[in-house]
Amino acid sequence: MNPHSVPRPVSGQGWSRRDFLTRAGHGFGALALADLLRIEAAAPAPRRLSPQAHFAPKAKRCIFLFMVGGPSQMDLFDPKPALDRLHGQRLPPSFGKIHSQFLESDPLCLRSTRTWGRYGQCGMDMSDLIPHMRPHADDIALLRSCVVDSVIHAPAQYQMSSGRMFMGHPSLGSWLTYGLGSISDNLPAFVVMSQPQGTPEGGAPCWSSGYLPARHQGTLFRPGPNPIVNLAPDNSAFTRSRQRRIIDFTQELNRRNLRQGDAELEARIASYELAFRMQAEAPDAVDLSRESAATRALYGVDQPATADFGSRCLIARRLLERGVRFVQLYSGGGPVAWQWDAHDDVNANHERMCGATDKPVAALLTDLKRRGLLDDTLVIWGGEFGRTPVSQKGSRGRDHNATGFSMWFAGGGVKPGTIHGSTDEIGLHTTSGRAHIHDIHATILHLMGLDHTRLTHPHGGRDERLTDVHGHVIQGLLA
């Protein structure tokens, strides 16, 4: 898609429409629509009028598969045979102190009862919870040494999203669109899809633009004919042609007395055209009936367990194809039973959550790959933290653990079939290749062609960054 195209005519109606296009040709045709929409009036000297990468990007777009609640690393990707030996015993003090949300002082070790295997050329460990991921072992780079600073859901989600444990800072997707701009003229650059059972605890601040302008915030998408809030009026009498007539009249009034070169007013005129096109484009983007039966089956759209997440993964692929820059896709939200928050029974919880996501996630990788999109799409999988090697109050569940958990990366610029970093014998603390969230963010920006130290925005007396004053690119993950 050419980002420098002027607004396309949509069902031309009468003189006003033609007049608009004429004006578009002469008045602000010189400035691309995409640029107009980036202009911020009255903001103190916009620093990045024409956002662009700092260097050649490896990935043009990105999807973050966010497993809300904290998946258990030692039941999925990081087997710990030592736990079998220690099962039911008090945690040996040699492993150090556990900092978790609820734990008592001398918790009991809890083994994983999963069956394990090694897959791919690289021999990546995966448990029987994620059978569909086995063929993708050589596609992904596994990071076993992730660290965040909070063991509480909301602050950890904020940190995973924005680098800070507090609300109010721009999220990763906002920084990416701020730094790189938009690819599509017809869809928002940053899309969020939460699960129907509910939102993550952190809520809307997880996809907020913080102190960046509001247009950089994530736009919520959902399946169905009205994927965006207020995309269409809740009134069937408002047909598309009636809407066009109203917009045309609005634009006619706007163009009276419009001074040439008034970028702010012209940007507002253009934003109505974009909104109108979005009304047509967005429902089309989420319309899965346009996919073949085979593709829908691949994602598990027609099976009850995978229908929701499969649909959202498939919608995500359609959005990425159509030029959406960043998709934040949540698995988990609302009732505890519908999050990866396995406090009471890790097997029961993860069988349900993996049952809902394993096939769709694998399908997304397969589908992106066969369409040639995986080469320049970055796929990220992970939660806000991992889980403890000990049981919570003697139950079959695990508490939160932020000092050593697993995430994986695939696609644009990522070294496939890699295992980076490690945790101790029981999966509690990172022992090598420590990857703090700031390092992970620095790496994501790097793959997208941005230097995390140079992507800044002035706020409260500082040049704020996604990575605060920290962060190192994790070289071991790069192809």
Partner: protein, 753 residues
């Protein structure tokens, strides 16, 4: 001293490593801040920090350049225009001025009759009369309170994961509105918010005012939160908010290191924080005994109604719960069963743990119950009906008896404040006493020395009162400059200092330092009253200029309008836009005060309200529809659930102080203003009131223009409107709705001229 020298040496040694910040980042920062501060004395190890930075110098007594000029503001601005050889723009039309000043002072457009009476008043005093009317209107306090609440980052809920409602937060919001309406002098306004409990012990209003320190988000979660970390976060929040809001100092930066750009060492940050060492965030009761009795009687009445329904629900659920429990018990392993069969005394400690763990696993959750009911439609329906009935009663529960969300001291035995290395509570360094930033009390600086700690009440330390009195001293170099600059910013579209909460080295320098100082002095001369300053600003010629940058030499040499040779056109802010839509559509409800109103919220946003419980309706809309048409400042602001319309138009997220709102232009704004239920309903109401206004289409069009744009339409605009309305065959009402919806979406409506 020796320590500092060591730091310097190690910083020099590590200089080449700086980009990695591998060694002694802090020491490097120290050096940097000295360079900025331009203070040689530090190199000798003296703890004093002085600075030539402009904002730390005393406010100068500035003569008015040409005292004959009617308004001193114009004398200052014209002087600069003359120096730069710029010509000022012509005056805006009287109509444009009226629309501008009405919006700036009250956040609402002028009504057609206000316009008519202003245009009919040809006297010299016509503008003054308008300004006095607007300043006396209760709408004025509501408008300006919003600017203040942006700084306080006020909301009606806690934020963070539970985002619990704050039933008493609105009292602070109403206090701000009332204070601005009665033009409470700014020094008192400040003092009550920083130290209400100490300044006026026993006074309810003062307690409520201290809620300034409570307006921001607060983390309230279950689990192992380190209380020391949490406490430090709270203190940081209040200290940095007060530093930036009242003094324009980004002192929060000095929490983790010596300030990178301003001469504020970390120790100074902690000295400032020490003023708050004793504060407790408490909600003391402020209700009368009758209120409690009434509350108890009413809630008991409702509880009695709920009880049989709750019992019916329990009875209905019991067999399901029993079955679920039984199924879980059969799923236990033989070992678990054996442990559960043992008597408590016979279990080993490990077995006891296992027993407790399995007990948790055997608990039947509401999710499981709901899932089981879903298989049996009849029972499911019955259960849902009971839930609804119970919910409908629960929402009738009266609000709890009044409390003041306040920041108070309850003892004068205060904990010691220590410098925390890199802000880490585990890395305590030297102890500090409460003191204002040294740069402001330095010998060359203009700020007064802090007064001795004053105690009006033996149970309180008086620290915050001393701080407040120090900040509100007329000779303080920052306080008066910062607030007059905020007034200027909201009237003229940009502050004289373009970074309104940062008067430090990183902040912008004043474009008109003499004018800023003269205005600061004028505030003091008016006993800190803000209304005379508003009056002065909006009655200036500069304020009355046209905003259109017509092609001119002035535009070419000062395209950014740094000299105010013209006015700045502004896009309405989110609340102003919503309020204006209500006003022109004829549905505006002017009721003032009280708890935040839950207006209808888009379903997809309502679904975002987080809960882990089974709740029937997370956003019970206010049943009184007229309340939905109240001003935006009276809407319930749930921190994590922003209204899409306000959110799209850059309303701040209330997570940190917002000194200046972003102004962005993007498609979801168009979607919100075209398609939202709010916009659609307003357009219908607007159309209805036009139909009732006159039978003549041209008079309806004229009325619509007067309301939306504050001016009459031209002949060609009337023709275009009528052509649009008649070119369609739908019912009259719908055609007029299309017309009004289009007007609400125009650039002219959404911008203040």
């Amino acid at each position: 001293m020796g320590k500092i020298r060591r730091d310097i040496r190690s910083a020099q040694a590590s200089f080449r490593f700086w980009p990695e910040r591998s060694v002694s980042f802090r020491a490097w920062l120290l050096i940097f801040s000295w360079f900025v501060a331009g203070s040689g004395s530090v190199l000798c190890g003296s703890p004093s920090v002085a600075s030539d930075h402009w904002s730390f110098q005393p406010v100068r007594a500035v003569p008015i350049p040409s005292p004959t000029r009617h308004n001193p503001i114009d004398a200052f601005l014209d002087q600069r225009l003359r120096e730069r050889g710029l010509r000022s723009a012509p005056p805006a039309s009287r109509e444009a001025w009226l629309r501008r000043v009405s919006f700036d002072l009250t956040g609402l457009p002028p009504t057609p009759s206000e316009r008519a009476s202003f245009l009919a008043d040809r006297s010299q005093k016509a503008r003054e009369r308008v300004v006095d009317r607007l300043l006396a209107s209760p709408r004025h306090g509501e408008r300006w309170a919003q600017h203040w609440l942006d700084l306080a980052h006020y909301a009606d809920s806690n934020g963070f994961e539970l985002d619990a409602d704050r039933p008493d937060a609105w009292r602070y919001r109403d206090w701000v509105i009332a204070a601005l309406n009665r033009d409470l002098p700014y020094d008192e306004f400040l003092t009550l918010q920083v130290a209400g409990d100490e300044a006026a012990p026993g006074q309810v209003e003062a307690l409520i005012a201290s809620g300034f320190g409570r307006a921001g988000p607060r983390e309230e979660v279950a689990g192992n939160i380190d209380p020391e970390v949490k406490r430090q976060d709270e203190l940081t929040h209040v200290t940095s908010t007060i530093g930036s809001v009242f003094m324009g100092l980004t002192i929060g930066c000095a929490r983790c290191h010596d300030h990178k750009f301003d001469p504020i060492p970390a120790a100074d940050y902690y000295s400032l924080q020490a003023h708050f060492a004793g504060v407790q965030l408490q909600d003391p009761p402020i209700y009368q005994p009758e209120e409690l009795t009434r509350f108890q009687a009413e809630s008991n009445r409702i509880r009695v109604l709920i009880q049989p329904l709750a019992e019916a629900r329990k009875k209905l659920e019991q067999p399901y719960r029993d079955r679920l429990r039984a199924a879980k018990e059969t799923g236990l392993t033989p070992q678990e069963k054996a442990v559960r069969a043992k008597r408590k005394e016979d279990r080993t400690p490990e077995e006891q743990r296992l027993f407790e763990g399995t007990s948790t696993a055997l608990n039947v959750t509401w999710e499981e119950v709901a899932e089981a009911f879903a298989q049996h439609p009849a029972d499911h329906q019955q259960r849902e009906a009971l839930k609804r009935q119970i919910h409908d009663l629960e929402i009738q529960m009266p609000p709890p008896p009044a409390r003041a969300m306040s920041m108070v001291e309850v003892t004068n035995r205060l904990p010691e404040t220590q410098v925390l290395f890199r802000g880490n509570v585990k890395a305590k360094r030297e102890a500090v006493e409460p003191a204002p930033p040294r740069v402001l009390v330095a010998r060359r600086g203009g700020a007064p020395a802090p007064p001795p700690v004053e105690r009006l009440d033996p149970t309180r330390s008086g620290r915050r009162l001393a701080l407040a009195r120090w900040m509100a001293d007329p000779s303080h170099p920052l306080t008066s400059r910062v607030i007059v600059n905020r007034l200027w910013q909201h009237h003229f579209g940009r502050g004289l200092v373009a970074t309104p909460s940062d008067f430090g080295a990183r902040g912008a320098r004043p474009s008109h330092p003499e004018l800023l100082d003269w205005l600061a002095g004028e505030l003091i001369r008016n006993q800190w009253r803000l209304k005379p300053l508003h009056r002065l600003m909006v009655l200036s010629e500069a304020y009355g200029r046209d905003s259109d940058p017509v092609d001119s030499t002035s535009h070419r040499s000062d395209p950014d309008n740094a000299t105010w040779w013209r006015m700045n056109r502004r896009r309405m802010d989110a609340e102003g836009l919503r309020d204006s839509v209500l006003a022109v559509s004829g549905r505006f409800d002017g009721a003032a005060g009280g708890p935040g109103v839950r207006a209808p919220l888009e379903p997809e946003v309502r679904e975002l309200i987080f809960t882990e419980a089974e709740v029937v309706d997370l956003w019970p809309v206010d049943p009184r529809e007229r309340n939905h048409h109240r001003r935006s400042i009276y809407l319930m602001r749930k921190r994590n659930v922003p209204y899409p319309l306000l959110n799209a138009f850059d309303a701040p997220d209330a997570q940190s102080p917002c000194p200046e709102r972003a102004v962005s232009t993007h498609a979801p704004q168009a979607l919100a203003l075209l398609n939202s239920q709010f916009a659609q309903k307003a357009a219908r109401d607007f159309a209805n009131s036009l139909l009732a206004h006159s039978d003549k289409p041209s008079l309806r069009v004229e009325e619509a223009y007067l309301r939306c744009f504050g001016r009459k339409p031209t002949t060609s605009e009337i023709k275009a409107a009528i052509r649009f309305i008649q070119a369609d065959s739908r019912p009259e009402m719908e055609r007029w709705t299309d017309f009004t919806l289009a007007l609400l979406n125009t650039n002219e409506f959404i911008h203040v001229p």
